[in-house]
Symmetry: C2
């Protein structure tokens, strides 16, 4: 499972192996960069080349890309949309199924709470993947969270969400909250 | 000179040859399409494949792509941004210089009037390229206008705009207005 947190300056990529029991293992995490001083066409080509290396190295079965909204009216939003389009394009050209998820879907899937902050998401990603430290930089952590989100949402889509057992993330978070209350 | 009017459902492409005296000749005009019912990754792959065919067939020296703004808050704006990113990516991967122009830059360059309507732009494109009818569909006409805009702006960038002679479009438009007033 490959997650992509799209960006033109920094594009986070995270690859995880997710078992049928929803446990997950870190395979690869990194950031594909392009130089902001370059012309836009060369920046997009650099992002595409970096993403293709990740696809080549890890042959993902599925790709999850963060959904970009026009409402996020930052100056970078068009570059972010273009980078997301390139990640989806590479998946499409290789016949790999691709999906998009909103940031709040990712937060809800990983922490059980759609308005979780970045540190909460990173903490859960580190816990689920049994990492010694928070994954860095933030773009890379978001890419891992996206990959976990898609794996878990896909894996539970056949069941009734209300009666589903807690995801590993939700269980770990519940455990952490219980510990904090002691 | 290749102009691209980006879109996910219809992506206009226009190729023109522009001489040093700014006269222009139509080489190719068309529309690359993708099926709205397809998954986004496959749609982007279809657009990329269609654009690559145009690049292969016409080997443009320069590519001009319409600039997309987040403020154009239509539901399609993200798909338009992604399609524009793919046109720029293909240029970047082939080492072909690429530029973006806003719609009002295109209108101003082609008709001499930044708020010109679509019919005025299409009329000028047909006149400059000596076409028997208005270029259709609108996306294709816009792509031709983009290509002309970039050629003329680039060609006149070294000179002083205020003292530059009228472009063929401006001259033709001025002639048409003079005729209309008779």
């Amino acid at each position: 499972m490959l997650g992509v947190d799209p960006g033109l300056t920094r594009c986070g990529v995270g690859v995880v192996d997710v078992a049928p029991d929803r446990s997950a293992k870190l395979v690869h995490v990194g950031v594909v960069r392009s130089d902001p001083s370059w012309p836009i066409a060369e920046r997009l080509a650099a992002i595409a080349a970096g993403l293709r290396e990740v696809f080549d190295a890890h042959s993902p079965d599925v790709v999850a890309v963060e959904r970009v909204f026009a409402q996020q009216n930052r100056t970078s939003v068009m570059g972010t949309a273009q980078a997301s389009g390139i990640a989806l394009l590479i998946a499409g050209e290789r016949g790999i199924p691709a999906a998009t998820h909103t940031p709040s879907e990712v937060k809800a899937a990983v922490t059980g709470y759609g308005a979780a902050d970045k540190i909460q998401v990173q903490t859960m990603v580190a816990r689920v993947l049994r990492l010694d430290a928070l994954p860095k930089p933030a773009d890379a952590a978001d890419a891992l969270a996206l990959a976990l989100c898609h794996a878990w949402r896909g894996g539970s889509s056949a069941g009734a969400a209300a009666s589903a057992p807690l995801t590993p993330a939700q269980q770990a978070w519940a455990d952490a909250e219980r510990l904090a209350r002691r």
